[in-house]
């Protein structure tokens, strides 16, 4: 690797008018290059993100069933309809339950894996890859494996076969409401898929901790193990921990694939995106209600994320 300087190439003033004219031209050129470089991205963002959001906001004020060019203005009717819709409200509850289950478990598991892999002396790259590998698997594929092979409800499903060895009757994992075993299926699927990714984040942070701190702690009489982890490692992981919590929560908000593929749109496990998908894009095609719902959801996500960031001190300068 060659040494690189980070200073910008200097424009040497040679003299008088010519140099300033050249500089202006250089700035113009740079500006043009800037726009040329970001234009493709910006155009894509405008066409595929901002424009649809604006259109969706427009649709949310209209009775737009089966059409995206509605004519019947209903004011805030769609918003009040969504907020008084029992199914939509219960989808928010489902989602909250999901977040409460998945965020702490992902956090704990990925931190645990990171500490393990960090400690391991042999084949560290192997273990790192093995735990990270599921991240590359698609949610749809994982859902199908979970549904059809591991957690299918008949006696020859994998989980039921294992339970059968100890004499437990087959459990219908996805259709059982009491106890709600479907949460186990949903949470384990996502845990398997995403824990490796957050493990890498933690691992990077762990390797950034100055070993001298551990030596100092040792000298001061801190017992290796829990005491050191609690008072040295965990506080130093704080910025990473906060990011992981935020990322996890945002990912949980976007829950769709595993719910849709594992359970379809059953009443008891239908997060907002699945409900809105059926309302707006499924056979109902009610774009007005769907848009209103998605904007309400966006507002909730924004508020919660900001609050969480404030509470945890995200972006606060580290000391």
């Amino acid at each position: 690797m060659s040494q690189q300087t980070t200073t910008a190439p200097q424009v040497r003033p040679v003299g008088g008018r010519t140099s300033s004219a050249r500089r202006t031209r250089a700035i113009h050129g740079q500006r043009r290059a800037f726009w040329l470089f970001i234009a493709p991205f910006l155009i894509g963002l405008a066409v595929f993100v901002y424009f649809p959001i604006a259109w969706s906001a427009f649709l949310s004020f209209f009775d737009a069933q089966g059409t995206v060019t509605p004519t019947k203005f209903v004011g805030l009717g769609n918003y009040t309809a969504m907020l008084s819709d029992k199914a939509f409200v219960s989808s928010l509850v489902t989602f909250t339950a999901f977040a409460l289950l998945i965020v702490p478990t992902t956090f704990a598991l990925s931190l645990f894996l990171a500490v393990l892999v960090n400690r391991v002396r042999v084949a560290r790259a192997f273990f790192r890859s093995v735990f990270f590998l599921p991240t590359a698997c698609s949610y749809v594929v994982a859902s199908l494996i979970w549904k059809l092979s591991i957690f299918n409800g008949v006696r020859f499903g994998m989980a039921n076969t294992l339970l059968g060895w100890i004499g437990v009757e087959p459990v219908s994992w996805l259709a059982s409401l009491d106890p709600p075993w479907y949460w186990l299926v949903i949470v384990t699927a996502r845990l398997w898929l995403q824990a490796g990714f957050y493990m890498i984040l933690f691992l990077a942070a762990l390797q950034n901790i100055n070993p001298e701190l551990y030596e100092a702690a040792f000298v001061d009489g801190a017992k290796p193990g829990w005491q050191v982890f609690r008072h040295i490692t965990l506080p130093l992981l704080r910025p990473t921990s906060i990011s992981v919590l935020l990322l996890c929560l945002i990912a949980a908000y976007q829950a769709f694939d595993e719910f849709y593929n594992l359970l379809g749109a059953v009443e008891y496990a239908r997060p907002p995106l699945v409900y809105l998908y059926h309302l707006a894009l499924g056979s109902q095609q009610n774009f007005g209600l769907g848009s209103a719902g998605s904007l309400i959801l966006a507002a909730i996500i924004a508020v919660v994320t900001v609050l969480q960031g404030k509470l945890l001190g995200f972006g606060r300068p580290s000391d």
Partner: protein, 426 residues
Amino acid sequence: MTPPANVSRRAVLGGALGLAAAGVLGACGSNKGTGAAATGGGGSKVSLSQWYHQYGEKGTQEAAKKYAAEYTDATVQIQWIPGDYPAKLSSGLSSGNGPDAFEGHLERSLVSSGQVVPLDDLIADVKDDYAEGDLAANSIDGKLYSIPMINDPQMLYYRKSLFEAKGIKPPQTLDDLIAAAKELTDKSVKGLFAGNDANNTGGGLTTAAIYSTGGRFLTADHKIGFDPAKVAEVLLKLRKFAADKSLLLGAPTDWWDPSAINQNLCAMQWIGMWAVPGMSTALGADEIGAFPFPAAAGGKPAVVSGGWSAFVSAKSKNIDAAKAFTKWLWVDKTDLQEDWSLSYGFHIPPRKSLAAKASKLQSGPAAESVKLNTDYGVQGDPNWTPAMSTALTDAVTRVIGKGGDPETELAGAVKKINTELSKIFG
């Protein structure tokens, strides 16, 4: 690596931008994939796309392609759609990227949003050959929007040998059915399979529960057509299946596929007549029997009469050609209709003349199914919208799955359905 000196940075970027823009525009403009290109040519044949949902039976896709290839007045491309067909169809139709001709189920919203065209003229000559109920289920406000292709009665099918071994007779009442399911359940076999969600959302048992009280979804003058108190009684009984652990749940395939009963996972299955050949091959035709969903107090046994119908999209660029093709296949070519109804899964041909001479439906479980459909079959209502259906199935799920109070839950659903009805009919 350095870029070739004679290519300016601007040219490269400009080119890239141009390509990106072309990609964006191309994506917006492309319509029907390969079909669209053929349309423009002067004098060349019109190109149509025809959509089917994915039929489970072997040979169906090839048959659909064969029919299309036989048609000479247009080039017909078959799209065989796996997965959530209603959702894909809806987005296809509303975005204008949909089919010219397709199969589906008539719903009022298809008509009110102007997505389909009336087809009365296509069947004018043979109108008498269709049952009145079939025409009504495919009409809205007196206009026919779809041509019945196949009728699919859905009911309970059972393994005769398993019934005989335990001395059980086909149930006459819901209590009998619940008791039979419990009796038939043992370590490896469950009594009843009615879908992986106990058919709360699949549309089988919930629908049958309503019909069995003598009710309908809606009345002819667009009011709620069932008595919630009577339906609540049936739902309370349906809860027993779960309590008795006699339901098969979480099978690898869902209720419309005969694998569960074929693989000895259940003794009874709620399924359609289409599966009769599949079940007969696996288990023997003599092993399969059929009975309707038992009558509730003061009601009637119930068979759910489903099916598929042929539509022409109003957004098609070649409506006339699509209509001509639909008439050719689903009205004129009775030999192909017969093939479609009887050579793969079993379906009742909607044409009375074809049904009368369908010898394959005149013996065994198929004949039983046809008779039960004639006696008890109830057809869907095109005014019953997906939103109403969701309201009802959600309530049923809460009652059966979560132990919700049936009166309260059904009252909630009724309120929502009434809101929908007043939105549509004022």
